[in-house]
Subunit: 261 residues, 2 copies
DNA sequence: GAAAATTTTTCACTGAGTGAAAAGGTAGTT
DNA sequence: AACTACCTTTTCACTCAGTGAAAAATTTTC
């Protein structure tokens, strides 16, 4: 245990960290890059990236297209599927999501809480164009989206306190931005058993969401995004709650007998 | 340039390769492990894995549960979503798959060719139990499944030759196992425009599949798995072909104006 | 409560990784 | 065809990051 922490300004990187930095250079905005772009974004010398990228390519974590541009490789995708979030949750949820989608013919989504954000795990949509905010993997604020509110409302009080203690960024006119207002809203969510968000995150977008409870703990939320603001929205609520409850029960079942598949 | 190559028997590993080996130790069969298991499977000293795993965890490529067991981290999943196979293909395909699923209420799947296998990219199913063979990410033989055959039939002749030149493992009574029979079958697929496989891979499972053509090249296949062997199967064919063609056109469109989203 | 697993920390040694620089490619422009 | 600009690949001497056996700490098992 040395007296001072070791942070030699910027190049505080192990080989592994550098390799991960190379991978991390790719993003939703720039999912494919040339070698030099990669180096620039990763903040590493080109020669270094050249070597690392070569090894990552060998392991199929990176791949190069005809033009020599790098993008993430199939291996990356395959391994992503082994993540608990996908392997357990998504797989179990699919039938329920599909049924819900079948019944209401609107975009349905599944989200979990990770850190201080909600993350979309799955989204079934008939829209041919996908808004960036709601891509699978997208991180969205807990306080300003229906799925986020559904999760937050049924979380432990200590966690709610943490979130309401943080800055609550405003996205639109109707975004809840004070701890007081947030708590009041969460009370309402708990009372009616689902969240209803009108244009709190994106203008023109309304959504409802219900929590997925597993042995008394929120594990996820299932939501319906209704861009058309149709008035039969209330019709969807029972179907949505049924899906959420069904999934919750299914997850409890799976937890009980580990891996019946 | 030294005279002899450097392969010190077994430990011919760079740091990066070792780190990837640690990640690669996790698998669908064992998606979570203790430190020592990880080291054993990766074939590396425990202390080394301890350090590497620590760094991978820091980068959120690994995560530890309450008991200290390692599994793949959220980052891994997030990055997997940036892979072309997901970001482009799956996202564009979803509306078509959903519509198809809506119309026929059977399990629909999307597969691509990777190396010498087909790989399931997406599967929409109402079944609560997922057979291992047809999980997303699963690799399946080109010659013995409907999606595989649909892809193979419309591939370049040189590729077909490579595949038919390889051993064609038998899975059931009806599996095609000779180059002759394979070519004849592919002819038929080309003629009718879709593949129809009856129990060639898994007993009791029938499937149909149509190729997704993008600018004259097969990019994927859309299939319907019909475990019930219902006789209205032929009713599904037009819907399926429409979905496949629609997706093909959509992909051409996206390729033309890069990223209209 | 002793034995048998784990996981974590330490530390002296050394070769694997480094990155500046040069060479080799590929376009695009005048 | 020569010039410019940017990209990829290779080389190589230096040295510091990574190594892993072994000891210490912790948890699990019987």
């Amino acid at each position: 245990m040395s007296a001072a922490q070791e942070f030699p300004k910027s190049t505080a990187k192990s080989v592994t960290a550098r390799a991960l930095a190379v991978l991390g250079a790719l993003s939703a905005q720039e999912p494919s890059m040339t070698l030099s772009q990669l180096a620039r974004v990763a903040g590493l010398p080109i020669a270094t990236v050249y070597r690392l990228a070569g090894e990552l390519e060998e392991g199929r974590f990176l791949q190069r297209d005809a033009a020599g541009r790098y993008s993430l490789g199939v291996r990356m995708w395959e391994m992503g599927l082994l993540t608990p979030v996908h392997g357990h949750l998504r797989e179990a949820a699919m039938p329920f999501l599909l049924n819900l989608q079948y019944e209401c013919r609107e975009t349905v989504q599944l989200a979990v809480c990770d850190g201080v954000d909600a993350v979309y795990i799955e989204k079934l949509t008939l829209d041919t164009k996908t808004p960036v905010q709601s891509r699978i993997g997208a991180r969205i604020p807990l306080h300003a989206t229906a799925v986020g509110q559904a999760i937050l409302a049924f979380s432990e009080q200590s966690f709610i306190d943490v979130i309401s203690g943080m800055p609550l960024p405003r996205f639109t006119e109707t975004t809840v931005t004070t701890p007081r207002a947030l708590n009041k809203m969460l009370d309402q969510v708990r009372e009616q058993g689902f969240a209803h968000s009108t244009q709190e995150y994106v203008l023109g977008s309304t959504a409802i969401a219900a929590p997925v409870m597993v042995n008394g703990k929120v594990e996820a939320a299932i939501g319906i995004v209704n861009y058309e603001l149709r008035e039969d929205l209330e019709v969807f609520v029972p179907a949505m709650r049924e899906a959420a409850d069904g999934l919750g029960r299914r997850l409890e079942e799976l937890q009980a007998n580990p891996e019946v598949r």
